[in-house]
């Protein structure tokens, strides 16, 4: 019995392979985008976790010197002998690889995920040439060293014994920081007595990198969710239609005595099997998407936040399981309504010819209520939302509310148009379009979401780029930047450059804490380069004069927002109070920054001498200058960076970001286009009874086909009109709420009308392409089929 029933139910799909394809493809695409994005996120997070584990970042308090310089190794011994359980860390760059030296005997358990267990020889690790642990990619960069390859190593990082690291980094006798173990013995001496120049940095809840990059991942996740929502619209449509068409079958089966329960169970099981098949295909596709995106994402994260992410993808059970789960869950959501309807259907109810449209009409009212509620929430949250979660809720209410309101809005618009229409054909066109709206509304919602997401994310990313390039022009004003190795080189550079350049601007900084926030303090020379170029968000009168005079400080927006500091407030640097004279925009920098005058900086940090210099000169003379500099002082060009090349590097990072965004934009639009195509195809066969009278009163089939195409483009156009303001609202949320929560700065929003026009054209093109085939099919419907409409009394 079960077998026969299943055969009867499945026969529907044999007769309607296109519907089956729609169902499977929609679900697979949705799952693919979702799991692809999740895979990229999971890979990136795994990389951060490995990096955090290397240094115990975030888990442990640390001791560092207040002036940010390395401490003497003797300080470590002094602390240990005073009862402090601390473990030394030294780190630096070697051949572009981050080299971390740890002390395995005193480090807390779990630090340095790459300790030798099997086959590892502790004597080899501690003594002689030593051993480095790194992943295969990193090992390639260090061909001359004894590197043990371990996949668990953080990307771009090599871990070794502290003694080996000190030797390789030429930091003998120096320690960068001390990890403070969680359980300290009783009766140890106070820090200020035994090591007054050290300061305790409290552990932070999550790794810094993790928090910084949350916004980026949030954007990706939002994209993934939107794509999934679009896919679920398709699936919902396909399932609704299929169930509607199968009502007669269900009625017959039940009339034959099959219990309702069994029908529901079998139909549910059938869908779950489809969902599993589509889920597997989707996860496989997702893997491909992730593998293609990951190198760009990795490059973006590295460039923007200095977060090293492995460029290769590993199969992680978490994301392919989540991909399958979401395929099943999505199908369950999409099918629950249809199954409920079947369960409520009276045994002998006739299959309603316009059931789909009528049901949609009832749904529209419910959608209207939901849309009103969601848009209401969004309106309130526009003014109150802060934090990443709030931003995300705001995004979701805004998008879903708008999507639900779309059919109502279009319906009203079309009703208005049909009132204005004069000719009979026009009146029929508008009325017929309205009639078709319920069947197309899911696809149009999908298009709306895809378009507004594209407008929103493109606006955000482009605003970011514009702001950042302007900012680069301001901040990288010097034509040449030179780094020196030591004080002797610094002196030689200054002596050489003084007569050949317009100005020498030393760049010196110290790491410190301001109001509990990690902050870099810069000592800056009084020069027009700063006065003319820097843009303040807030400033007091004569901000530059008082700062260069040593009385005030300028801070960046990140520090201002995180510590709640504004112009006029006072902060303390090395125990000296400074009033804040200005807050400047500092895009792309993860941590706080403060600027004080060169003179007062030297007083506060006597140990620091500048080893980086900005040189103002004629840009054309830079190459000659570099050649002469090496000849005269021995400072090689490799220690210099040309302003033009810094900008080129920074911009190339952004190009990568755009590659990711563009790829996702194209994918979501493609999914929306697919939704339109499938909706039109399924509607086409149902529409013959409605088109036959128009044909019978003299409209040619080709006219009908053209109107069909026009209708799709018109609906897409109307949707695009709604999508534009929605997308702009979305980008405002991303820039003013999400960005502030994740980064600590607000980006100015720029508009890019030409981009929107182009996007609109793309959407129209997608709709037209999607409508082309169904329209052609209609135009070529055999007259016999149209005639049959009149002979088959329904």
């Amino acid at each position: 019995m079960t077998r026969a029933t299943l055969q009867a139910l499945l026969s529907h799909w044999w007769r309607n392979p296109l519907q089956l394809f729609t169902l499977l493809a929609g679900l697979a695409l949705a799952t693919a985008l979702w799991s692809g994005v999740q895979a990229v996120n999971a890979e990136a997070r795994a990389s951060y976790d490995a990096a955090a584990a290397t240094l115990g970042e975030g888990q442990y308090d640390r001791l560092v010197r207040q002036d940010g310089q390395p401490m003497a190794q003797d300080t470590y011994i002094t602390l240990r002998r005073a009862g402090w359980l601390v473990s030394p860390v030294v780190q630096g760059r070697l051949e572009g690889v981050r080299l971390v030296g740890v002390e395995p005997l005193t480090a807390p358990g779990g630090i340095g995920p790459v300790m030798p267990t099997e086959g590892g020889d502790i004597a080899t690790f501690l003594l002689g040439e030593g051993q480095l642990f790194a992943n295969a990619e990193t090992a390639v960069e260090l061909p001359d060293l004894n590197v043990v390859i371990t996949p668990e190593a953080a990307p771009g990082t090599a871990v070794t014994d502290i003694g080996v690291a000190q030797r390789l980094l030429e930091k003998t006798g120096q320690i960068d920081s001390l990890i403070v173990l969680p359980n300290q013995p009783i009766g140890r001496a106070e820090l200020r007595v035994i090591a007054p120049d050290l300061t305790l940095q409290p552990a932070q809840g999550g790794s810094d990198i993790g928090r910084l990059t949350d916004s980026f991942h949030l954007n990706l996740t939002a994209f993934g969710l939107l794509s999934f929502a679009v896919g679920i619209f398709i699936v919902n449509g396909a399932i609704g239609l299929a169930f509607e068409q199968r009502r007669p079958v269900v009625r017959t089966l039940r009339a034959l005595g099959l219990p309702l329960r069994q029908v529901i169970i079998l139909m549910g099981a059938e869908l779950m099997i489809f969902a599993l098949i589509a889920g597997v295909i989707g996860v496989a596709l997702g893997y491909v998407i992730a593998a293609l995106l990951l190198p760009d994402v990795a490059a973006t994260l590295r460039g923007l936040y200095g977060a090293d992410v492995s460029g290769t993808l590993q199969l992680r059970p978490a994301w392919w399981l989540s991909g399958l789960a979401i395929a099943l869950g999505g199908t369950a959501i999409a099918a629950s309504g249809a199954l409920y309807q079947i369960s409520q259907m009276p045994l002998l109810a006739a299959a309603q010819p316009r059931a789909l449209a009528m049901a949609a009409g009832r749904r529209a009212a419910i959608h209207g209520v939901f849309a009103t509620i969601l848009l209401g929430i969004a309106a309130v949250m526009m003014f109150t939302a802060n934090g990443l979660i709030g931003g995300f809720i705001l995004l979701a209410s805004l998008l879903i509310g708008a999507a639900l309101a779309l059919p109502l809005f279009l319906d009203r618009l079309l009703a208005g148009a049909s009132v204005i229409a004069k000719s009979v054909t026009a009146q029929w066109f508008w009325a017929d379009t309205r009639q078709q709206l319920p069947g197309l509304s899911l696809a149009l919602m999908a298009l709306l979401l895809a378009m507004s997401a594209n407008v929103g994310v493109s606006t955000m990313v482009s605003s970011f780029r514009l702001t950042f390039t302007d900012f680069l022009d301001q901040r990288l004003a010097s034509e040449l930047y030179v780094r020196t190795e030591n004080e002797t080189q610094s002196a030689a550079l200054v002596a050489f450059a003084a007569p050949r350049t317009d100005a020498i601007l030393p760049i010196q900084s110290a790491d410190t804490q301001v109001a509990g926030q990690p902050t870099e303090v810069y000592g800056t020379r009084d020069h027009g380069t700063y006065r003319d170029n820097w843009v303040f968000l807030q400033q007091a009168d004569n901000a530059w004069d008082t700062t260069f005079g040593g009385q005030t400080v300028l801070i960046n927006e990140q520090l201002s927002r995180r510590a709640g500091l504004n112009v006029g407030d006072e902060i303390s640097l090395q125990g000296t109070p400074f009033a804040i004279a200005g807050v400047y925009g500092d895009y792309g920098n993860p941590i706080g920054q403060a600027v004080i005058g060169e003179g007062i900086f030297a007083t506060l940090h006597p140990a620091i001498t500048p080893q980086n210099f900005g040189l103002r000169m004629d840009p054309d003379s830079v190459p000659d200058f570099l050649a002469e500099l090496e000849a005269a002082t021995g400072i090689p060009p490799s220690q210099s960076v040309n302003q033009a090349s810094i900008k080129a590097i920074s911009l190339s990072i952004f190009e990568r970001t755009f590659t990711v965004t563009t790829a996702l934009n194209v994918l979501t639009l493609a999914v929306a286009g697919f939704a339109i195509l499938m909706s039109l195809l399924t509607l086409a066969s149902m529409r013959i009874p409605q088109l036959a009278p128009a044909w019978a009163v003299g409209m040619t089939r080709s006219q009908i086909g053209k109107l069909e195409l026009l209708r799709a483009v018109l609906l897409a156009l109307l949707t695009a009109v709604v999508a534009l303001p929605l997308g702009l609202a979305l980008s405002w949320v991303l820039l003013a709420v999400v960005n502030v929560a994740a980064f600590g700065w607000q980006l100015p929003m720029y508009l890019f009308p030409m981009d929107y026009v182009r996007l609109g054209l793309f959407a129209l093109l997608a709709a037209a392409l999607a409508a082309l085939w169904p329209a052609r099919r209609l135009a070529r419907t055999p007259p016999a089929d149209l005639l049959k409409v009149f002979s088959n009394e329904r």
Partner: protein
């Protein structure tokens, strides 16, 4: 993977006692090997012997508070050499491990420290004598010593005064550990009077008692078939003392050794078989915390029972170490160490 996992390989020579690691007795790998008829020189031999693979300064004490409550105390510094050399800096191949414990009838508090040699974090110098790892110190002229240790839940500061001579075990300090001839240099100062303050979670407690300091070094202390040991240091109420150990072998037999110490420091060494130690009761972890100990030649037939059965050292190399009471033919107190029961 974590650091603790490698510590076992780090302290392999010491682990040998606990883990029954086979293969150590086979080759000395360039390290010096104890020879019969040792000629000790003090204070030099109180200091470190980096050309030997392992060495320890091992102090245990039976203490009593004013209210009569018994306490046990341990202070141990282990040295383990990766190569028979010493030097300055991170590459010095000497590693150090400190263990400290306080045992009460209800609780057992444990602390552990690890350190590299060559950087000043831990070392032992002979004149003036000072042994230290981090803030843990044992220093003085061996007539008097000061001893401190600290951990998250306890600390102590003790003063020791010698009330008798050094004791040399085995053949004048050459202590044979197996039938195959594995041996160590082994001497003790079992006559310390000790007093000081224990800082415990419940408050400070003033204590007095007697302490036993063992010095031992070697490069190949165990035979291949030996899997662990049970070690007793007993102080009888009549003033006599006894050191005895039993090495467990894979063939089910044991290798025993003992030293009888009179109140004025006269010693009688006993070779394999003279001492008989029989487990009586086991605790929840199957560690024998009650023993019958017999040395018939001195009329000793006593029952040794743990004051706190749960004196398990939760260190990177785990073992049982705690104070005991002695009843039977003789009465008194002492310390029991058991390895190889993990």
């Amino acid at each position: 993977m974590n650091v603790k996992a490698i510590l076992l390989t780090l302290f392999l020579p010491i682990t040998a006692f606990a883990q029954g690691f086979a293969g150590l007795g086979t080759d000395a790998d360039g390290f010096s090997v104890p020879q019969p008829d040792p000629q000790f020189a003090f204070p030099a031999d109180h200091g470190a012997h980096p050309d030997y693979r392992i060495e320890w300064w091992y102090l245990t004490a039976n203490l009593t508070a004013a209210d009569g409550t018994p306490y046990g105390l341990q202070w141990t510094l282990f040295r383990s050499a990766l190569a028979p050399e010493t030097g300055e800096g991170w590459t010095a191949p000497q590693l150090w491990m400190g263990h400290a414990a306080v045992t009460t009838p209800e609780n057992h508090y444990v602390g552990e420290r690890l350190a590299r040699g060559g950087i000043g974090q831990a070392d032992v110098v002979d004149d003036p004598f000072q042994a230290w790892i981090d803030d843990w110190v044992l220093e003085g002229d061996w007539e008097t010593l000061r001893m401190t240790a600290s951990a998250p839940d306890f600390a102590y500061d003790m003063a020791l005064t010698a009330q008798g001579p050094l004791i040399f075990h085995g053949d004048a300090g050459y202590s044979v550990k197996s039938a195959a001839g594995q041996a160590s240099y082994y001497y003790s100062q079992p006559f310390f009077a000790i007093e000081g303050t224990l800082q415990l979670p419940d408050g400070d407690i003033a204590v007095t008692g007697n302490a036993w300091l063992d010095r031992e070094w070697s490069s190949q202390p165990l035979a291949e078939n030996q899997t662990g040991w049970d070690w007793f240091s007993l102080s009888f109420d009549d003033g006599n003392k006894m050191m005895g150990f039993r090495l467990q072998q894979t063939d089910g037999n044991n290798f025993t050794s003992a030293t009888w110490i009179t109140p004025d420091g006269q010693t009688t060494p006993y070779t394999d078989g003279a001492l008989v130690a029989t487990p009586l009761a086991v605790n929840d972890d199957d560690v024998p915390v009650g023993w019958r100990v017999e040395l018939p030649e001195k009329g000793v037939d006593v029952t040794v029972a743990a004051i706190n059965e749960n004196a398990w050292m939760t260190t990177s190399v785990p073992y049982w170490e705690g104070p005991v009471t002695v009843t039977g033919s003789h009465t008194g107190v002492g310390y029991l160490e058991m390895t190889g029961y993990e």
